[in-house]
């Protein structure tokens, strides 16, 4: 292979483009193995819905959210979770597999999906969204459990628990690099944030850079909202229901703390149109009750967790059916909590610099 400067430049350019998402290789391997091991080999391409991929990667990577597992609000200790007081940043940490069995959600009675969304809408309408004060960041605390694959019963396979925090500027949801962040592609954390701000300034509020005021302008008519959502999404306008479900989940997870009740209800109506939905109560290790709304498609199930009391999104579960069939088994579970906290607490000078 020639090493002429132009070709070398292309190679280096390619290397600097976004790489594969964390865990992507394992997810793709699982999809391939599942599809090729099926008793009846698929006649069609593995559809996009077979990708818990995006949901897992994106929801985990981006949104963050909080350790509702033994949620901070419950006062229950969390494995590897925030150890400082509310609003204090914590660094990511992981725990050993031991002791993670009890952290998987316990499922309760099934609930009609329309009833769940109706209750969530009502709860959201009765709750006022917190408004960030100037200089505050939106920080998402996540507790995540993962195991390598389906198993006969939850917890019987090796699992790991992790917790972490990511912080964003409320305007545009620009990620503020964590205190321990180093250079990325030669850019300091301050430069990374400055670049993100430049991008926001150039593009303005929108699907890529949501702001509270922009979210409040989204249509509350589901059809109009869907049209806007399609226009703001990349990829084909028509997608299968699992893919759409995952897209909704990713977006809601990102904007949850800023989304007004009316627009949230419109999203719930859109979600309720999808096929394959079921819902049930789910309980954290501390006994906190959630609604788990699950979309099942083939051997893949994707579940969003909602807080009945506030209507807010609280987490995400990825499930898969093992080779022997049976009920889907969770292979990845995330619980989130969002808090506004002073930017100074995040300890990155750029986060407190004037915009």
């Amino acid at each position: 292979m020639t090493d002429d400067p132009d070709l070398r430049g292309v190679r280096e350019f390619h290397q600097e483009r976004p790489g594969a998402a964390p865990g992507a290789l394992d997810r793709v391997r699982r999809r391939v193995q599942t599809a090729t091991a099926a008793p009846h080999a698929p006649r069609f391409l593995l559809p996009r819905w077979a990708a818990p991929a995006a949901a897992a990667a994106v929801v985990a990577a981006v949104v963050g959210g909080a350790a509702v597992l033994g949620a901070a609000g419950d006062g229950t200790p969390q494995p590897g979770g925030p150890t400082a007081g509310p609003g204090r940043p914590t660094s990511a940490a992981s725990t050993a597999a031991e002791g993670t069995v009890a952290l998987w959600l316990k499922y309760g009675a099934p609930v009609p999906v329309p009833a769940v969304f109706a209750q969530l809408d009502q709860a959201a309408a009765g709750n006022t969204l917190a408004v960030p004060h100037p200089g505050e960041l939106l920080c998402s605390h996540t507790t995540m459990l993962t195991r390598s694959g389906p198993s006969p019963s939850p917890g019987s396979a090796p699992a790991t628990a992790q917790a972490g925090v990511r912080c964003f500027e409320p305007e545009g949801l620009l990620e503020v690099p964590p205190p321990s962040a180093g250079d990325v592609k030669g850019q300091s954390p301050a430069e990374q944030l400055a670049a993100a701000r430049d991008g926001f300034a150039a593009a303005g509020p929108g699907w890529g850079y949501p702001t509270a005021s922009w979210l409040a302008t989204l249509p509350t008519d589901p059809d109009l909202l869907l049209a806007g959502f399609r226009a703001g999404s990349r990829g084909p306008a028509e997608v299968d229901d699992l893919t759409r479900w995952q897209q909704y989940g990713r977006f809601l997870a990102r904007v949850d703390p800023l989304l007004p009740a009316a627009q949230r209800a419109a999203f719930h109506r859109l979600m309720g149109r999808l096929d394959g939905l079921t819902a049930a109560e789910a309980f954290t290790v501390s006994g906190k009750r959630l609604y788990a709304v699950r979309l099942t498609s083939g051997t893949i199930a994707d579940e969003l967790l909602f807080e009945p009391g506030t209507g807010r999104l609280a987490g995400h579960v990825e499930l898969t059916v093992g080779p022997g069939g049976g009920d889907p088994v969770p292979v990845r579970q995330e619980l989130w909590k969002h808090v506004f906290q002073p930017a100074a607490g995040w300890a990155v000078p750029s986060a407190t610099a004037p915009r």
Partner: protein, 188 residues
């Protein structure tokens, strides 16, 4: 492989898709992510190996790597607009586009250098075939004949496409920092 071995195995056994994935999955995923972003790349690579599984009896003689790149390249064509849009955005703003896909947004934080923006401008403006050939040659490091087989086009077309792409590439690189300001051309 010895002659004796070859004669004792007149028909090659069908490739095992799991083995192929272990050998080439990560590389293909990286290649596709660099072209269409991490989320779409997962779909493309999964589809690539499923197609490979279905067509494994048609695996041509020679390494499977180029064959897999060929399948992936065909699948990537479905996402041509996505790829071009991202390249144009990168060329224009120095950042990957502001997509709803949060993973992409996070991955695209870093501002690009002037050189990166010029390269993005050139790649966005290349016709589809020239872009495919250039990236298969420069990034996947396939040879002319492999690319020709992979894309099912004549060898001369590969050479011609690569030559034209490289001419544009060199011109842009030589043009200096202002090159990224030029209007984006068509890509199809």
């Amino acid at each position: 492989m010895s002659m004796l071995h070859t004669m004792a195995e007149p028909r090659r056994s069908l490739p095992d898709v799991a083995g192929l994935f272990d050998q080439h999955g990560a590389e293909l995923l990286r290649y596709c992510a660099g072209r269409v972003g991490p989320t779409v790349a997962e779909d493309v690579v999964a589809d690539t190996f499923l197609i490979a599984h279905r067509r494994r009896h048609r695996l041509p003689d020679g390494p499977a790597r180029a064959w897999l790149y060929g399948i992936a390249t065909n699948l990537l064509r479905r996402h041509r607009r996505t790829e071009t849009r991202a390249l144009r955005a990168l060329a224009r703003t120095g950042r990957d586009p502001d997509l709803i896909d949060i993973a992409d947004g996070a991955a695209a934080r870093a501002d690009a250098s002037a050189l990166t923006r010029r390269l993005a401008t050139v790649l966005a403006a290349l016709p589809a075939r020239q872009r495919d050939v250039l990236l298969l040659y420069a990034v996947a490091e396939l040879g002319y004949e492999e690319i020709a087989r992979t894309l099912d086009i004549p060898l001369g077309s590969v050479q011609s496409a690569l030559h034209r792409a490289r001419v544009k590439l060199r011109a842009a690189l030589a043009a200096g920092p202002a090159a990224h300001e030029s209007p984006d051309g068509g890509s199809r």
